[in-house]
Each structure stands twice: as C-alpha cells, then as structure tokens.
C-alpha cells in the first residue's frame, strides 16, 4: 500500500500516471486532476490533496458536477434548483424519475476554487449585493452570468428560520425573472409543558404541530414536483428515496466515526469536508455519490487496519449530518429531518449538539469558523463559544474566512497555531485520546 500523504497537484500528476500504469479503472467523469485547473479551478494548485484513488474519485466527482448537470439537461431531465434546505427536497426530487436536483447556492465556493476568476462576486456587487452578504451572493452572479450551472427548470427555496442572506438573495433572483417556490421552515422551539412533541433526528424534540406544519409544507412541494413532472410521487417512491438517502448518510456516519476517532487520522480534513457536502446534495448523482463515499470508506478502513494515515493526529470539528428517520411515513420523516436542521432552532441548542459531538470525538479544542457577512454568525459564534467553554472547558478560537483568504492566511495560521499550542501546553501525557490535536 502506498503510504498515505497529502500531496500537491504536481505530485498528483505523477501519482495519476502511476495509477494508470497500475491499471486504475475510473468512472466516466474520471481523469487527471490537472484538467480541472485548465478549466479554471486554479485553487487546486495551492491545495494539498490526499493521494488515494478514492480521493481522486471524490475530487473528480465533485469538480465534474456542472458537466453532469448539462448532460442531464441534454438528456431531457428536469433540473430542480434547491435553495437552502440541507438535504430535504433533494430526497423528494430524486424519488422521481428524470429529475436531477442540485444546490445553486453551492456557487458560494466558485470564487474560492476558481480564485476570483469568475467575476461572480463583482456581478453581485453590481446588483447591490455587496460583501455585507455572505459568499452565497456568488449564486446571484452565477444566475446572471449563466456560465456555470445550467439555469434550473424549477427553484425551490426553504424560508423562515433559515438564513437571511440566502432568503434575500433568492428574493432578488425572483425579481430577476427566476420564479421561486417558497416553503416554510418555522423556528424550532422547545415544546411547551404538556404539549405533544416528537423526537427529531439527533438530540432535539419539536412540538407535534410544528412537525405537522412542515409536513404540510412538504405536501405542497410534492404537489409542485408532481405537477411539473406529470408523474405521481407515491409514498412507496418517497420511501425508496429515503432509503437511498439514508444509505448515503449511513456511509457518511461510518466515515465520520472512523475518521474522527482513529489514530492516526486516516483521512485529511479537506476530503472529509467534501464528503460531508456530498451527503447533502449527492452532487447531482445519488448512485455515484454512494459509490464515491463507499470507496472512501474502504480506503479509510484499509488505512486504519494498517495503522497509517496522512496526518499524525487530527481533531477537526465537523457538524453532524442527521439521518432521516425510518419506520415513519415518508413526509413525516422528511419533516422531522427538516426541523432538525441546527439553523432552524436556537443557537443554544446547536451549541449543545456541538458539545455532544466534541465530547464524543474527543476534541481538545474548538474552532468557530465564521462566514463573513452571514447574518446568523455574529451572535451564534459568541453563544457557541460561551457554551463550549462553560460546558467542556475547551479552548475556543473564532476565525472568519472569506472565499479567498490567501492574504489573511498568516493571521489565521497564527491564531490556529496558538490554539494548538494551548492544547499542547495543558495536555497531560496520559490525556492524548483519539482524535487529539497535535
């Protein structure tokens, strides 16, 4: 087995040639990573990437999504642009044949991966959506430029207790002639005394009537999808869609548990982050998403069995992705999942969940990475930091990372190094548990 390492793109050129000579078999979207740089993804030149074939597949899958969407359009599929909700509507959309769902708000990362060569933020600026908004404003530029993802046939946006930045920008999209179907996620609140309530995926409970409300909203989404596709979205089809989505989430759950608790860490944080993203939107191909995550998990298992990894130790804090409950009616299950979104409730509840996950994975420090301009980040970061310090006594550092952060890197690095040093200085020789920072 080739020793796991984080390598540069130049190294990957050599590594790819080696793998090809050794008989590497790839899916249709496979190929060397260099071609993505040629297509504009110049950030790759500055990243260190995991050197496994599974990581190659992951990166190729991620960076070929726009091609996949264009192919889906040519094939006559209906493209559904899903805005904001973290993984609910795509499950419904993928339960229908000939429908492909994707998140146009994923355009937030284009200025990062393409290093400002896109003019997306400048276009958003020209429309009055400046850097007082979070990087999701790149989506507005992408709709205007029409040079990235194909314009969806249908836009479905969750609103209410979601995110003002995205809601305001989606409203502007509607003003630019892109009709939006709005559905509501109410602010999740704790059940009142004696009020009937329901357990949500994760650790939260919600009042029964809030779940009923979201279920009714999802019924509206279902009616819309049926109307636009001319096909019924049956309970059986929905249930099958949930089972497929749960396969993705189960894979991710195993991957997280394995990667975050093994020593040494078997996979770098960057690849883990991308794996998390896939579980939300499947990167426009649910079946392939399962295959990509499966390959990643196999690689992780191999490395753990061999006691090797690209890092000595890793303690990256990553938020939990909820499983969708099985054994209940499909729309009820999806309603509970939608309400379990940490952003739908109080940040104090979110802080509790972070405490639970931080303790579970043996984290020794917490990094709160704020999104610049995001209206929910200001007070949320303060509340999470306060709760984690009080409950777990962990050192906390709060950083803010814009889409292109190269000029800030020295300052960010200094703060993160100071955090690591703080952990080291207080760590006793016996306290270095799994996932500890080094």
């Amino acid at each position: 087995m080739t020793p796991p390492r984080r390598i540069s793109l130049d190294d990957w050129d050599r590594r790819y040639a080696e793998l090809r000579r050794a008989g590497l078999r790839e899916p249709a979207y496979g190929g060397d990573l260099r071609r993505h740089v040629t297509e504009g993804d110049t950030r790759l030149l500055r990243l260190k990437l995991d050197n496994s074939p599974a990581a190659l597949r992951l990166w190729n899958f991620l960076l070929s999504e726009e091609d996949r969407l264009r192919h889906a359009r040519r094939e006559g599929n209906i493209l559904v642009g899903v805005l904001k909700d973290l993984g609910t509507v795509p499950v419904m959309a993928y339960a229908l044949p000939s429908v492909v769902a994707f998140y146009p708000d994923g355009a937030w990362w284009l200025p990062c991966i393409m290093e400002h060569s896109t003019a997306l933020l400048e276009t958003a600026d020209s429309l009055g959506v400046d850097d007082s908004f979070c990087p999701v404003r790149a989506m507005l530029g992408a709709f205007v430029c029409q040079s990235h993802f194909p314009i969806p046939d249908l836009l479905i946006c969750s609103t209410g207790a979601t995110c003002d930045d995205l809601s305001a920008i989606a409203q502007r999209l509607e003003g630019l002639g892109h009709p939006v179907f709005w559905w509501e996620i109410p602010h999740r609140r704790p059940p009142d005394a004696g009020e009937p309530s329901v357990a949500l995926p994760g650790i939260f409970r919600a009042p029964r009537r809030q779940v009923d409300f979201v279920r009714a909203e999802l019924e509206r989404v279902r009616a819309l999808l049926e109307d636009r596709t001319g096909k019924p979205l049956s309970v059986a089809a929905l249930a099958a869609g949930i089972r497929r989505a749960n396969r993705v989430r189960a894979l991710l759950s195993r991957l997280r548990r394995r990667a975050f608790t093994a020593t040494p860490a078997p996979l770098p944080a960057l690849e883990m982050l991308i794996a998390e993203m896939l579980a939300i939107h499947f990167c426009s191909d649910q079946d392939e998403c399962i295959a990509v995550l499966g390959a990643l998990l196999e690689e992780v298992d191999r490395r753990i069995a061999a006691g090797i990894g690209p890092l000595r130790h890793d303690a990256v804090r990553v938020f939990w992705v909820n499983p969708i409950p099985d054994g209940v009616a499909p729309l009820e299950a999806l309603a509970r999942t939608a309400l379990a979104d940490p952003m739908a409730g109080s940040p104090l509840e979110r802080a509790e969940r972070i405490c639970r996950d931080a303790a579970r994975f043996g984290a020794e420090a917490l990094v709160i990475s704020r999104i610049p301009g995001a209206s929910h980040c200001a007070l949320e970061g303060a509340l999470i930091g306060h709760t984690v310090r009080r409950r777990l006594g962990l050192p906390v550092v709060e950083i803010e990372v814009p889409p292109v952060a190269d000029s800030l890197e020295p300052g960010l690095r200094t703060r993160l190094e100071a955090l690591v040093e703080t952990v080291r200085s207080v760590r006793l020789p016996t306290s270095m548990g799994p996932g500890g920072l080094q």
């Binding site: 429309l127 009055g128 959506v129 400046d130 007082s132 908004f133 946006c157 609103t159 209410g160 207790a161 995110c163 003002d164 930045d165 809601s167 305001a168 920008i169 409203q171 502007r172 509607e174 003003g175 939006v180 709005w182 559905w183 509501e184 109410p186 602010h187 609140r189 009142d192 009537r209 409300f213 009714a216 909203e217 509206r220 109080s346 940040p347 104090l348 704020r370 301009g373 995001a374 209206s375 929910h376 980040c377 200001a378 007070l379 949320e380 970061g381 303060a382 509340l383 930091g385 306060h386 709760t387 709060e398 803010e400």
Partner: protein
C-alpha cells in the same frame, strides 16, 4: 401594570393590552460599543441596541421578539442565555399564501397569550378583546386622518403611541411646512430619528410617507366590525398577518404593491432609504427599490445612537434635496 416591550409590527399591541398589560413599542438608542466584544462583529446595530437595552434592565418587564429576521432570532437566544428579562419569541412565518402559515401565526398569538398570562396578564374574554381591538382601531383611524397635518417628528411620536398604550398620543399642533415630498422606507427607526426628521423638514423636505418598520406601512388594516364580532382573534390575525407588507415576507411582492400605490398617491419625489449594516433583508431591496420606484433614492446607513452619523446623514440629505429641486 407591567410593560411588555416589543419592536416588531407583527406583535399586536391590542393583544397585550387585552391581557391587561401595557404594550411598549421600544425605540432604541443603544450604543453598539456596549455589546460584549465577542458578540459585536456582524451584529446589526438595531439588534445590538436591543440587547444592550435588555441587559441594562430598562427595556421593559418582559420582551416579545419576532422571528422575522436572523438578527432578532439570535438576539432572542442571546438574551435567553444572558438576560433575566423574560423574552418570548413570536414565530412569524415569512410565507403568507397558505392557510397553514396563517394558522401558525394564530397559534403563536395563543402561545403569546400564555406567556402574558404567566407575567400577570388575564386571558381576555371575546367581548373584552373586541372592545380593545376597537379602541386601537379608532385611535389609528383618527391618527391617519390627522396625519397630513402633522410634521414628521410628531407623526413619528404618534405612531409610537399607537403601538403602545395610547396614553401618550400627541395633539396635532401645526401644519407641516411645505417642502419636497419624501418617503422614508426601510427598517426600524432609532430613537434619534425624530430629530433627524425635523431637520429634514427644516432643510426643505417633507416626509409624506413613513414606510419604515415602525411607520404607517406596518399599521394593521382597519378591523371589520362584523368579523370582529364573530371572532376577534381571527380578525386580529387578518389585520396583521394578512395585510402588513414587509421585506422579509416571501415573496415580498406586496411590499412593492403597497409602495407603488402610496408613493404615487402621496406625490413622493424622493426616497430616504434607512438601513442598518448587516440587515440583509433590507439591504438586498435597495437595488430593486431604485428600479421599481423610478424615484431618486438616498441610502442612509444607520448606527443606533450615533449622533455623528446623524450629522453626516443630514449633510447628504441636504444635497439630495438640492438635486430634487433642480
């Protein structure tokens, strides 16, 4: 009688008053710098002012906030963690097209009733609720009739009284001076705004339409007497939830319909757009407002309690007025 402070026009003061408590529309004059360091960056000055006011204990005996923007939702959580003043977060759906959104708002008013009862209020019988609603309705109607004769500062104080316990309604003293008709559009006004509005009028402008968060844009529709008699709470829901146009509503087409009608009806020649840094909901509308209204728009950034900002704004307003006189 305990006071219940609020800042959202979707919190009906009649509902609080009908419970025997005193509604108080909060005009905030907080100082952003007083917010704890870790919570300062990215917090809109209005939410910061609210937090500072609540932490000082001077805001009210209890607070009612609404979920209509992120900053208020998170401010409610912040107060939950750091403040002893009981705070109720009213869930106001941003969608308005469906019966379930309307029902949710009504259920939330019921829950608010429970909160008020726990603060010493008495759940109103339908007759008392209807009588309270009528009293507020009549005062609003009288004030709206008197509005054309009021200077902007006085109208602003009248609106505050209409949203509070009606005890401090100012008398109409003088007709406003003639001037260039202006509209005020945007988010909530800070406490110092009345002074700014008076200075706008001295500079040759005249606010003929207050479409800010606390302005007449967000006054509820007049109550229907027949429906009021049948189900006063449902009529309250209709007058507030079904009719108030706002930037956060999805879609917010009714905001532009309301503006188009009133800007034309009042002969508005220029718009003063009031916005807070980090208020995404209003900031995103500026470009669209310019395009849809076809009127000159002057954007005024706000920091609550910042007199220097007020002075700077006045200089810009004077220049704006000069361009409108050309």
């Amino acid at each position: 009688m305990d006071s219940v402070g609020y800042v959202s026009p979707f919190v009906p003061p009649e509902w609080i008053a009908a419970h025997g408590l005193r509604p108080a529309w909060l005009t905030l004059d907080g100082r952003e710098a007083d917010l704890p360091e870790g919570a300062r960056r990215g917090t809109c000055p209005f939410a910061a002012a609210l937090i500072v006011e609540a932490l000082s204990g001077s805001a009210a005996g209890a607070l009612v906030l609404a979920t209509s923007c992120d900053q208020m939702r998170y401010a409610a959580a912040y107060l939950d963690a750091h403040c002893r003043v009981p705070t109720f977060l009213l869930n106001v759906p941003s969608t308005w097209q469906t019966p379930q959104s309307r029902r949710l708002y009504r259920e939330e008013l019921d829950r608010l009733g429970g909160f008020l009862a726990a603060r010493g209020g008495r759940p109103p019988m339908p007759e008392r609720l209807a009588a309270t609603l009528l009293r507020y309705d009549e005062h609003r109607a009288a004030a709206l009739r008197a509005r054309p004769a009021m200077p902007a500062g006085q109208w602003s104080r009248t609106l505050i009284a209409l949203r509070s316990d009606l005890a401090t309604l100012p008398e109409v003293k003088a007709s406003p001076a003639a001037g260039i008709p202006l509209a005020l559009v945007g988010g909530p006004q800070p406490a110092g705004d009345a002074r700014l509005l008076e200075r706008v009028e001295r500079a040759g402008g005249r606010i003929v339409l207050d479409a800010s968060e606390g302005g007449e844009r967000t006054l509820p529709a007049p109550f229907d007497r027949r429906r009021l008699a049948a189900d006063p709470l449902d009529e309250l829901v209709r007058a507030y939830f079904d009719t108030i146009p706002d930037a956060f509503r999805r879609p917010n087409t009714r905001l532009y319909e309301w503006l188009a009608h009133h800007l034309a009806a009042r002969g508005v020649r220029g718009i003063l757009f009031r916005r807070y840094l980090f208020c995404d909901l209003w900031n995103a509308e500026l470009h669209r407002l310019r395009r849809q209204s076809g009127l000159p728009v002057l954007a005024l950034d706000l920091a609550a309690g910042d007199d220097r900002e007020t002075d700077r704004s006045l200089g810009r307003i004077e220049a704006f007025l000069e361009t409108l006189t050309l």
